[in-house]
Symmetry: C2
Subunit: 389 residues, 2 copies
């Protein structure tokens, strides 16, 4: 049953091999001062930086750089970015990179004109901005997070040992535009590439495995998962297969741009387990999710059996004839595990550096969500981590 | 393969049993003068009119009425609406009704400040507006057209015997907001209800049956079709089943709000055949589509066999094992026909008043599209109509 909701997603997407031309259509809408935000400098090696700078100059912009955004942007970096944006009197923040860079740009956007401490206001108290915000644009170079078309922003506070995501509700905090060229994703190393693929899958599954009603969103998600499974297997064999990479890029955007969660409950417990692993090991996000997924889903299967049966049939083509729901559901999870292994995903947390001695820390660092098929207690969380070792 | 494209759809949707509350959030954004556009008056019987007027008054608006929008809005009505909007100095056009009312509101919006003849400019020369346009809001009372979240507008010129649709590209012509309460669709008579259901299905199929590449959009459409097939069968048994009606309403919006056509070719030949039937018989739109569909799809099946095989397996659960692609594809179309018959759709054009003597007129009135699996020649079009009799 579709519950009451509102939906609005005004981000303009420029998609394809010539997507960068979209910058020429968007830049004239904003003032002269552009804060150019990016990460560790890989965009200087692959030529994307030069292309962006050339287009900014051709459009008469003053470029102010804010480089060095890390994979998990810190609150200290946020404070620094706010100072840079203020000094530049920035009219537009242009994020060039993956989800972290885009997340960070949004955090700077809501903080530039904010009189309070943005960490406290947005990431502890989860408030919406009361001040003016800066428009954000994005040139995406990595897929997975959906940050290019949503209001999400994740910031890490190392001192407080907290990594907190805030999904801003106000659409004006969504990127005004995003440039999505699938070719920009070709150069990513395989480990990061497949980690991103599983992050996408996990986003969909976290929203799929909840609720017992009949809901159009679930049907859309089955389509997205089928597309992702198909294209990911092509992409690991042929990283420069444009068909596969373009389908994956598009699937990633729609997996987490708010659409498929409409009218339904969502889970997100795998992300909580994975983030706990990330906190103790500093491992790549997608791999922390893959390493805990099979034990988690095998544990909760019995509590949402019908949905797991449906998942097996509609996503993994398991034939249900003459089989119990449980057998069908198990076959589906086995098919999922085989797909994960063939992508080369990390399948246990030991391979990410976790040890038995860390179990207490892992359990304590795991937030318990309530939207899935089973609200986990501490013993269950411990058992899942133990199984994941 | 996802080709290059842009995507932007800023319409804000208020969905659910309390969706009408969204008006209180939207109306303060606009000036005082509201042109209230609606159809034949059914909204006065079911209470929706009173609710809307009460909210408009509570928000201090001056209401100017423009009633009597017909199922196929005419160019004369458009001229009349433009005069009314000018006299009212309208700040907002609020359309309350189905797709026709919403289509009409958009046509008025782009014509109020236009110095040229809007019929010539927009529906003959297919130009985009060069003038200021009026914002449009929508309270939807019928599902099917997707007009609540796209830039489409269809206007009929009886003198010229033309019914022409223009899909405006500029997002500012899309409704700024739409109110979608599935309960508002309960009172529609069964004939109109199932006609709308098939219109939705046809919108998806017209976009699905084209291309030979692997494309995420096709996977999303398979999900939408599965959801529609499931919920439509519930809704014919239980018209007030909220779960089914809400899923259908949501599916209808996403079937034609531009998303699923992204990066792919589309067909639309069934709409051309159906519109020819509509021109000679004045029959209900969805029924003209259902009456020609089976002969059309059985004819083109051989030219897009792999896609029809996939349609059978992924939408109709046909087991492919040990069968030729052709046998699987035929089984899929048979399942589709059985579904159509169980909804009570009109399955031939004789039942809509067409006769053998009209065949020449039908063939001449049919536009030939080029995006599908077979570009039809006149003889094929005649054969399809003959088969549809």
């Amino acid at each position: 049953m579709l519950g009451d909701f509102t939906y609005c997603n005004p981000t303009k997407l420029y998609f394809g091999k010539n997507a960068m031309d979209g910058l020429n259509r968007e830049l004239p809408k904003y003032g002269k001062n552009v804060l150019l935000v990016y990460g560790g400098g890989s965009i200087k090696k692959n030529g994307i930086y030069d292309k962006v700078v050339a287009i900014l100059k051709a459009n008469g912009k003053n470029i102010f750089e804010d480089a060095g955004v890390m994979p998990n942007p810190t609150v200290e970096k946020l404070y620094e970015g706010v100072e840079r944006a203020r000094a530049a009197k920035a009219d537009l923040i242009l994020a060039v990179g993956g989800g972290s860079v885009c997340d960070y740009a949004k955090a700077v956007s809501v903080s530039v004109h904010c009189d309070e401490d943005p960490w406290e206001k947005y990431f502890i108290r989860f408030e919406e901005p009361a001040c003016e915000t800066l428009p954000v644009g994005c040139v995406l170079t990595m897929v997975g997070t959906g940050s290019e078309m949503n209001g999400g922003s994740v910031i890490t506070n190392r001192k407080a040992k907290l990594k907190i995501g805030h999904v801003f509700a106000d659409e004006k905090i969504f990127p005004r535009f995003s440039v999505l060229n699938p070719e920009f994703t070709y150069t990513l190393p395989k480990y990061q590439m497949v980690s991103g693929f599983y992050d996408i899958m996990s986003h969909i599954m976290e929203q799929y495995f909840s609720g017992t009603d009949d809901n159009t969103s679930d049907y859309i998600m089955e389509g997205l998962m089928r597309s992702l499974v198909h294209s990911s297997l092509v992409a690991v064999r042929e990283p420069e297969n444009y068909e596969a990479r373009s389908n994956i890029m598009w699937t990633a955007t729609w997996a987490l741009n708010t659409l498929v969660a409409k009218g339904k409950d969502t889970d997100w417990e795998v992300h909580m387990l994975g983030q706990a692993v990330g906190a103790v090991t500093d491992a790549t996000h997608g791999m922390t999710l893959s390493a805990v997924s099979m034990p988690y889903y095998r544990h909760i299967m019995r509590y949402g059996l019908e949905k797991f049966r449906r998942f097996a049939v509609n996503v993994w083509n398991v034939s249900p004839e003459g089989k119990t729901a449980e057998a069908v559901a198990e076959e589906g999870l086995a098919a999922m595990e085989a797909w994960m292994r063939s992508l080369g995903l990390v399948m246990n947390i030991s391979d990410l550096g976790a040890t038995e001695s860390m179990l207490d820390d892992l359990v304590n660092a795991t937030l318990v969500m309530t939207g899935g098929y089973k609200v986990l207690d501490k013993e269950e969380i411990r058992a899942i981590f133990k199984e994941s070792l």
